[in-house]
Symmetry: C2
Subunit: 205 residues, 2 copies
C-alpha cells in the first residue's frame, strides 16, 4: 500500500510519541518496540522510521518531554515570598519525587537510556537539564544571603548540583527495588527530608 492522508506529519509525530509514552507507562520501558507502537496506531513499523531517525531518536524525544514536564511544574511553583530557602528546596524536591512516583517507567527511561557509542545528546536536551538547576541555585544563594554565610556563586552551583544529584540518587535507590527498605521509615520522602535538613543546616554552619 502507500500514501494516505489520515494524519499530517505533525499529527503522526504526536501520535507516535503519545502512544510510545502510553506503552512505557502501562507496560514498562522494556515493552516499548517499533512494531508495538505502529500496530497500535494502525501503521506499519517502517512508518516510525519515516518520522524518527531511529528508536533511540524517539526515546530521546520522549525523555526531553519528561524534562519539560518537570521544568513546567517547578516554574508554576507558588512564589517564594515568605518561604525559607529550605522550604523552597523541599518543594522542588517534592516535585521531582512526585514525577518519579507517578511516572516510574518514564523516569527510568530518562536516566537509563544511553545512545550508542559515538552519538551524543542534542544540544537542547542538555540545555533543558541545565535550566532545571537554575531555581535550585537561586534558593541556595538566598540561603547564603539570609544566614550571612560567605558563599560565592561558584559554591552555589556546586551545592545545587550536589543536592540535585543526591535527590536523584535517593529516588533511584527507592525505585530500583535493590535496596531492602526494612521499614517505611526509609522511604524516599523521609530520606529527602533528612538530606535537605542536614545539608542546609550544614551549609549554614
Amino acid at each position: 500500500m502507500a500514501r494516505r492522508s489520515d494524519h499530517t506529519r505533525n499529527e503522526l509525530h504526536e501520535l507516535i510519541i503519545t502512544t510510545a509514552i502510553r506503552i512505557i507507562d502501562d507496560e514498562g520501558f522494556a515493552a516499548l518496540s517499533a512494531r508495538k507502537i505502529s500496530g497500535e496506531i494502525g501503521y506499519s513499523a517502517g512508518t516510525i522510521y519515516n518520522v524518527y531517525k531511529s528508536m533511540d531518536d524517539l526515546i530521546v524525544t520522549i525523555n526531553a518531554r519528561s524534562l519539560d514536564i518537570m521544568a513546567s511544574q517547578i516554574k508554576s511553583l507558588p512564589h517564594s515570598v515568605g518561604q525559607t530557602p529550605c522550604d523552597q528546596l523541599k518543594a522542588m524536591a517534592k516535585i521531582y519525587l512526585n514525577f518519579v512516583h507517578s511516572h516510574k517507567e518514564r523516569w527510568f527511561a530518562l536516566f537509563t537510556h544511553r545512545l550508542p557509542a559515538g552519538h551524543s545528546l542534542p544540544d537542547d536536551f542538555t540545555t533543558k537539564i541545565t535550566a532545571l538547576f537554575a531555581p535550585i541555585e537561586r534558593a541556595i544563594l538566598s540561603l547564603y544571603a539570609e544566614s550571612s554565610t560567605t558563599g560565592s556563586s561558584k559554591d552555589a552551583k556546586l551545592a545545587a548540583r550536589t543536592l540535585w544529584a543526591s535527590v536523584h540518587g535517593i529516588c533511584f535507590i527507592d525505585q530500583s527495588g535493590k535496596m531492602p527498605l526494612v521499614s517505611t521509615q526509609y522511604d524516599a520522602s523521609n530520606m529527602v527530608n533528612c538530606l535537605i535538613d542536614s545539608f542546609v543546616a550544614g551549609l549554614r554552619a
Copy 2:
C-alpha cells in the same frame, strides 16, 4: 557433537562469568550476549543455559560479584582509630567512586538491570546490599557520640541510607553524561566532598 571434559562444572561457571565481565568492561553492557560469551570460550550458546537459568540469572550473579568487590574493599579499609567520622565516610565514598570509575560498565549493569516482572532478586543479593550499610551506620553513630548530639539508632540508619543513596546519585549523574558539567569543579569527587562536609556538619548542628 556432545559431552566433553575440557572443564569441570565449576570451571565452566567461572569461565562464563569472567568472560562476561570482560565483555562488559571492554565492550559495554549492551554488547553482552549469550552467543558472544559462548563463542569466546569455545562452546555453543546452549551451554550457557546449561550452567545459568537465563541471561538475567547470569547478570544477577555478576552484579552480586560487584557488591562483593566493594564490600571487601570497605572491609580492608585501615582501621578508624584517629580518624574523624567525617573522614571515615569520605574514605568509604572514595571506594565507591573508585569502583564506578574503574568499572563504569559493570556499575551501570549493577544498577540498571531489572528482572522481568514477577521475578525477584535472590535473598543473598539484598543481604549483601544491607551489609554495605553497616560501616556507614557505625560512622554516623560515632559521629553522634562525638558531638553529644542526640541521635538514635533509627536516626543513624536513616542518615546512612540517605547519605549512601546521595553518593550513588552523584556517581550516577556524573557518569551518565546527561548532566552538562560546565567545569571540572563539578565532578563527582568534588560533589561528594561537598555533600559529606555539609551533611555531617548538618547532623552535628
